[in-house]
């Protein structure tokens, strides 16, 4: 299992070093620094084996998070753990960067003692951790019974939810957040497109509620279709290619009849993640027009919103790459603001608000400097960034959410929000 965990700053200074097993020495941190962080060429693989020690690393903001292992450990476990650890970190300190690490190193060591034991991952749920590891110091009032409660909760069937939670107003917020990934060819044909979405839930419910969650999942609808005489008009349903669930979801039930039922943890959590590739409603269409003539390039880009006129997109940003030997750029546009950013070799066109069915256009004239090597410009794709509230690109729909609490029997207020963001949204020009 995991032999040690290290956190480096971007320059390669060791910020945190915690060794769990004695099959490695503390100085393996130098090995990683020399071979990966300071290596002459860029190391791309997240897993590297140096001198029979495996190093798994991820970079987050400006920190390297590295696990060293001598044994043949499951790489997926390690990466799942690392990402989970970052979540814990963020929920504790707000951000995971070298500043935060330096300021909170005592607490971090305390956390590291808790999340891993002898290299085996233990509790990585921030809600559970927060109950016992606090930033203010331990409350004296907690008695030995508290310790017993910890054990029973963490080893019980519902380890993620504490007993006896009480709210005056029982509410549940559901956010469906989707990111669209697209690669469009020059003639407007999508070469690849998929949506990866996640359902985030904020839960403020008393007691031990049992929830049942319904989507317009195609398989489920078809199964129900017979009994319900296909009365629903909501559409044919969407085909979900693959999905993963939070640990609270009862997988056995999902396997049996594809219903999602769970006892939610308290607070915010991600209920499920999914991916779809069929029938994606693309929010924007980008029509580029590039003319190269000698030392001049004329670029015209038209962006069209394809969603309903009642909706609108925010923070729209179009990034039009320019050749490396660009000398001067003249940009004109009516909507938003467009600027040539030499440090990024691109024209950045920003619009705060973009209404549905609206069409905007930018035109630019790029002057080039003659270079000694006549290399053709390889025309990198135009990329886009945006957010469209209340528009699910995959067509996913929350059909129902039932909350049942047998003892308390309260009414729940439920809120549903949709949001589509751009993943890598690129159009070739």
């Amino acid at each position: 299992m995991i032999s040690g965990l290290f956190i480096y700053s971007h320059k390669g200074e060791v910020l945190i070093s915690r060794v769990y097993r004695d099959d490695i020495r503390r100085n393996v941190s130098d090995v990683f620094r020399v071979n990966i962080i300071h290596s002459r060429h860029q190391v791309r693989s997240p897993v590297n084996i140096i001198n029979r020690t495996s190093f798994f690393h991820i970079k987050h903001e400006n920190v390297w998070l590295v696990v060293a292992a001598k044994e043949n450990v499951n790489a997926m476990t390690v990466f799942a753990f690392l990402h989970k650890f970052i979540q814990v970190f963020v929920s504790y300190f707000g951000k995971f960067n070298d500043e935060a690490v330096k300021n909170n190193f005592i607490l971090i060591y305390e956390l590291l003692d808790e999340v891993l034991d002898f290299g085996y991952p233990q509790i990585v749920d921030s809600n559970a951790l927060k109950a016992y590891i606090t930033q203010e110091g331990l409350k004296i009032a907690r008695t030995s019974t508290g310790a017993g409660a910890v054990t029973s909760q963490l080893t019980g069937t519902v380890s993620w939810r504490r007993e006896g939670i009480k709210y005056r107003k029982n509410q549940m917020f559901i956010d469906v957040i989707e990111s669209v990934n697209l690669l469009m060819s020059t003639d407007g044909k999508p070469l690849s497109a998929h949506v990866s979405g996640s359902i985030m839930i904020k839960c403020y419910l008393s007691g031990m509620p049992e929830c049942k969650f319904g989507l317009n999942d195609k398989i489920l609808l078809e199964k129900d279709g017979r009994s319900q005489t296909r009365a629903r008009k909501g559409g044919a349903g969407i085909a979900i290619d693959d999905c993963t669930f939070h640990q609270c979801v009862k997988l056995g039930k999902f396997e049996a009849d594809r219903s999602i039922s769970f006892i939610p943890p308290d607070g915010e959590f991600e209920l499920m993640k999914y991916r779809t590739t069929d029938n994606i409603a693309l929010p924007f269409k980008v029509i580029p027009l590039v003319k190269e003539s000698g030392n001049r390039i004329e670029i015209k880009v038209v962006v069209k919103a394809q969603f309903k006129a009642t909706l609108f997109a925010t923070n729209v940003e179009v990034r039009i790459p320019t050749p490396r030997n660009t000398a001067a750029v003249h940009v004109t546009t009516v909507t938003g603001s467009a600027k040539y950013k030499p440090s990024e070799n691109a024209i950045i066109w920003k619009m705060k608000r973009f209404a549905g069915q609206y069409e905007a256009q930018v035109s630019a004239e790029v002057e080039l400097l003659a270079s000694s090597e006549k290399k053709a410009w390889n025309r990198p794709p135009i990329s886009m960034d945006f957010q469209v509230p209340m528009f699910p690109a995959s067509g996913l729909n929350v059909r129902f959410l039932k909350v049942l609490e047998h003892k308390l029997n309260y009414e729940t207020v439920k809120w549903v929000r949709y949001m589509t963001k751009a993943g890598s949204y690129e159009t070739r020009c």
Binding site: N62, R324, N325, T326, A328, P342, S343, E373
Partner: protein, 935 residues
């Protein structure tokens, strides 16, 4: 205007301050865009700005960015008159432009202008740029100017210096472009230049020129010698060139080296006298000084380093001259003194030179006097490179008189020697022992000791050589075998020893077999006890020894056969071992008692060649001191031959001796000679594997019958009978072969296949595999599909092989398929026949033969024969009723060939005349031959 370029400083500071790679990249991108817009901008830039931006670009280039612009700005900077701008321009161009760049053309003119400039600094910048970029175009258009600068009387000396070096650079790159010829005398004249730095640079140029060809540079020698003499006697001004009390040591070294390129001046010439005088003064001066006196503060190590450098080259020149005995002896004595010096470098230097000197006959004796010191150097020196030199020197020193001492010392040292030089030492000891041995038993002792002391480092060549020598020297065989046997008796012996022992015992084991301590049984047990510890190749060798034992000592033959039969060997996973065991076993069990002794006869003597070891040593020391080594080899006057041949020769003999499978041919002949009588009694099937695959003539005749028939018996002997059924359709034939087992024993491993040797293009054969077993009195069938692609002449061959009663039988039979099998009948009346006959009158299409009848001519028989061959005999076509006129069509994959035949019998003479006319010449010829041979 500030000249320190604050913008550049700020930029560099900012880049250095960036926190991450990405930030640095962003900053660089921004700066690049800025420079691009500035270069592109409408406002013309002044020199300072250009210089600043070009510097920034240069800095970014050095950081690893791709810079593909700015060249034009740099060129315009070069055109500027300010030194700093010109310098930056040239700097940028030297860094960014390579010799293939298109910008070369643009800057050549500019460089030309600068070369002709009155300002020498500009000329120097241009020269440096040429030397740094130096493309072909540049060389072509500028070499002349550079040369002019070099020899022009107006040039200042620092221009001349740079010009000489630039020219050297161009000459190294494009020797053919330089118009050296006309300027040569003037370049040589520069050797007398008063400025020593010019002389040094020009000498470098001349050295390169002379190395290619000394022709036309003869006058240099005198000048160089004169110059040397003047330096030695300090006749000229040496201001600034005296280095720790030595006059221009670098120049002296260069001059001495320069002299070594030329052939040594003739004895008694003035040049020789002069050079000897100079050398005498150098050696003499060094000899009269103390080696190094620490108390004397004046004499610093630098002084000695410089002096010794000069001395080194001086001795090299002496060796080059090869005659000045007194000087050589003096210098060897001097070097001998150096051997005891405390300076490692000095000792190295002395040993290196001494090993060159040792190869000269004049000094060989003088050097020998230091033998003891050298041995000490080898054994007590701390520095491995010095020890190596000492080893070289000892090797060169060694002669008949001192070989025993030196080899003893070396052997002793070998036990503690460094691992890196062990292999070299082993080789050298082996060579010395062999070259200078007066007694071969001593040689054998030395080699065996070598193997004992440093077995891992004894290469294959060494023990091969021992074996060769022992084989060639009958007087040591007895001794060597005894010693090897004793060595093997010790519980720990090296694998190489086992190899030598295995070979020698196998060859000469009988010489010691009378000794009760070394009876055959004991020898066998000894080898077997080593067997399991050895590598496969050694095991294979030991197996050969065992089979030799089986031959030499009949009393243990059965033991050895049992060993061979053991599963461990006969089913060994190593194919080499397995094959050897099985072959040796069958060899020893061969019914003919004469076979084994003949095969395992004593090895013949090896041809005398150059020892392979010498060649190996040469390989090893190649590049280290090639000339010395070459001189040495010449002195030893050993026949020069590549060792590779030797090794191959040895391997081949070994293989022939030990591995019958490889050497099938000679052995088979042997068997054939011996067993001539029994082999001939078996009429059909051939007895063993030895018969070359050729069809029995009788059988060929049998298969010939199939010219006329499709079905019948193809082959028969006491065991096997083969029947044939053929059916033909157009160009496809299906031949069914029926194999019958006539004997009372089952036939196993039965295989049968058809080979078309020269007929792959003309015939396509597909044989279905046949069952491997054939019970007594049973029959099996094989179907063969034949497709005629083109007309063919040669019949394919049918190869049958099987094992019956433990004996391998093999038969090769002509496969009964002829071109006439694909002949289809074709009927026609007289006019058409005549018309066709006339059509096919072109030369080549007709083939005619007159031949004697084999049987009495009978019209009916001939007609039926022709019909059975597939021809349609046409009646009433020929006016003479005795003549036969036939027609037919040959179907081949590519075409259909019409065939017309006229066969005219002559009863009186019992002769036939056959005339074929077909639409293809080869078909005519083949059919004509077939008909002529079968009537």
């Amino acid at each position: 205007m500030p000249d320190d370029m604050r913008g550049l400083h700020n930029f560099i500071a900012e880049i250095r301050a960036t926190k991450s790679k990405e930030a640095e990249e962003k900053r660089i991108n921004k700066e690049l865009a800025n420079i691009r817009s500035k270069f592109k901008g409408d406002k013309p830039l002044d020199g300072y700005q250009k210089k600043k931006y070009v510097c920034k670009l240069l800095f970014m280039f050095l950081l690893g960015e791709d810079i593909d612009f700015g060249h034009m700005e740099a060129i315009s900077l070069v055109a500027s008159n300010k030194y700093s701008e010109k310098q930056i321009g040239y700097l940028f161009l030297s860094v960014m432009i390579n010799e293939t760049s298109d910008f070369n053309r643009l800057i050549i003119q500019q460089i030309k202008n600068d070369l002709l400039d009155r300002n020498e600094t500009h000329v120097c910048l241009a020269l440096t740029c040429i030397a740094n970029v130096g493309g072909r175009e540049m060389a072509e258009s500028l070499a002349g100017d550079v040369q002019k600068l070099l020899v022009s009387p107006d040039s200042r000396s620092f221009v001349k210096k740079k010009a000489a070096l630039t020219l050297l650079r161009l000459y190294r790159k494009f020797p053919e472009i330089l118009p050296v010829g006309e300027y040569t005398p003037r370049i040589i004249a520069l050797l007398d230049d008063p400025d020593l730095s010019v002389v040094t640079s020009v000498l470098a140029l001349l050295y390169a020129l002379v190395q290619a060809d000394t022709q036309g540079y003869g006058s240099c020698v005198d000048r160089a010698i004169a110059r040397l003499r003047r330096l030695q006697t300090r006749e000229e001004s040496l201001e600034g060139y005296v280095y720790y009390d030595i006059a221009a040591p670098w120049l002296q070294v260069k001059l001495l080296r320069f002299l070594q390129v030329f052939p040594a001046p003739a004895p008694d010439s003035r040049a020789r006298e002069a050079v000897v005088e100079v050398l005498r003064s150098i050696v003499g001066k060094a000899a009269n000084e103390p080696v190094r006196d620490k108390r004397n503060k004046q004499q610093l190590p630098q002084y000695f380093n410089a002096r010794n450098a000069v001395l080194y080259e001086a001795v090299r020149v002496l060796i080059h001259l090869e005659s000045e005995t007194d000087l050589l002896v003096e210098s060897s004595n001097l070097l001998g003194r150096f051997l005891s010096s405390k300076e490692t470098n000095l000792r190295y230097f002395a040993l290196e030179l001494m090993s060159s000197l040792a190869t000269l006959s004049f000094t060989h004796e003088a050097i020998k006097r230091h033998q003891e010191t050298v041995v000490n150097a080898l054994t007590q020196e701390k520095d491995i490179s010095v020890r190596r030199r000492a080893l070289d020197l000892l090797y060169n020193l060694c002669g008949k008189s001192n070989v025993r001492v030196i080899v003893r010392e070396l052997l002793q040292y070998l036990q503690v020697a460094d691992y890196e030089i062990r292999e070299e030492m082993v080789l050298k000891i082996a060579v010395l022992a062999e070259l200078h041995a007066d007694d071969y038993s001593w040689y054998v002792d030395v080699i065996l000791q070598l193997i004992r002391v440093a077995g891992d480092y004894v290469s294959e060549e060494v023990w091969h050589r021992v074996v060769q020598i022992v084989t060639n020297q009958p007087d040591v065989q007895d001794y060597a075998t005894k010693v090897v046997f004793d060595a093997l008796c010790s519980p720990y012996c090296h694998e190489t020893m086992v190899k030598v022992g295995g070979y020698l015992l196998g060859e000469f084991g009988h010489l010691i077999a009378n000794n009760p301590r070394a009876t055959p049984q004991i020898q066998l047990q000894l080898l077997l006890s080593k067997f399991s510890m050895c590598s496969p190749s050694t095991r294979a060798l030991l197996l050969s020894t065992l089979v030799k034992f089986a031959n030499l000592f009949p009393e243990i033959k059965t033991d050895i056969e049992t060993i061979f039969r053991s599963n461990n060997l006969s089913r060994n996973t190593d194919p080499e071992i397995q094959q050897r065991v099985i072959e040796y076993l069958s060899l020893s069990q061969h019914p003919n008692p004469n076979v084994m002794p003949t095969v395992l006869e004593e090895m013949p003597k090896f041809k005398e060649r150059e020892s392979s070891l010498l060649a190996k040593i040469r390989e090893k020391s190649e590049g280290v001191s090639v000339d010395a080594e070459a001189a040495k080899v010449a002195r030893q006057t050993v026949i020069v031959d590549r060792d590779r041949q030797e090794r191959e020769d040895r391997e081949e003999r070994e293989a022939r001796r030990s591995n019958p499978a490889v050497s099938q041919q000679p052995q088979a002949n042997l068997l054939g000679d011996l067993d001539a009588a029994p082999a001939s009694t078996g009429p059909s099937a051939v007895n063993t594997t030895s018969q070359p695959p050729q069809a029995n003539p009788e059988l060929a005749h049998l298969s010939r019958a199939f010219l006329f028939q499709n079905d019948g018996k193809l082959y028969e002997d006491a065991i096997l009978q083969i029947g044939v059924k053929t059916s033909v359709k157009n160009n496809l034939a299906r031949v069914a072969l029926y194999f019958g087992n006539k004997s009372g024993y089952p036939i196993t491993n039965f295989t049968s296949d058809v080979f078309a040797i020269n007929t792959t293009e003309t015939l396509s054969l597909q044989a279905k595999p046949v069952e491997g077993q054939l019970a007594p009195k049973a029959q099996t069938q094989q179907l063969i599909n034949v497709e005629c692609l083109k007309e063919f002449e040669e019949q394919p061959t049918l190869g049958v092989a099987y094992v019956v009663n433990g004996q391998l039988q093999r038969a090769v039979i002509k496969f009964p398929i002829f071109v006439n099998k694909f002949l289809a009948s074709f009927d026609m009346d007289q006019p058409t026949f005549v018309a066709r006959w006339k059509q096919l009158s072109a030369p080549g299409l007709e083939s005619q033969k007159v031949f004697k009848a084999a049987q009495p001519i009978d019209v009916a028989a001939v007609r039926s024969k022709l019909q059975s061959m597939g021809f349609t005999v046409l009646a009433g076509v020929d006016p003479n009723p005795d003549n036969f006129v036939c027609a037919g069509v040959v179907h081949t994959g590519s075409s259909q060939v019409g065939v017309l035949l006229r066969l005219e019998p002559n009863r009186d003479a019992q002769m036939y005349r056959a005339t074929f006319r077909t639409s293809r010449d080869t078909v005519s010829r083949i059919l004509c031959d077939l008909v002529a041979s079968s009537f």
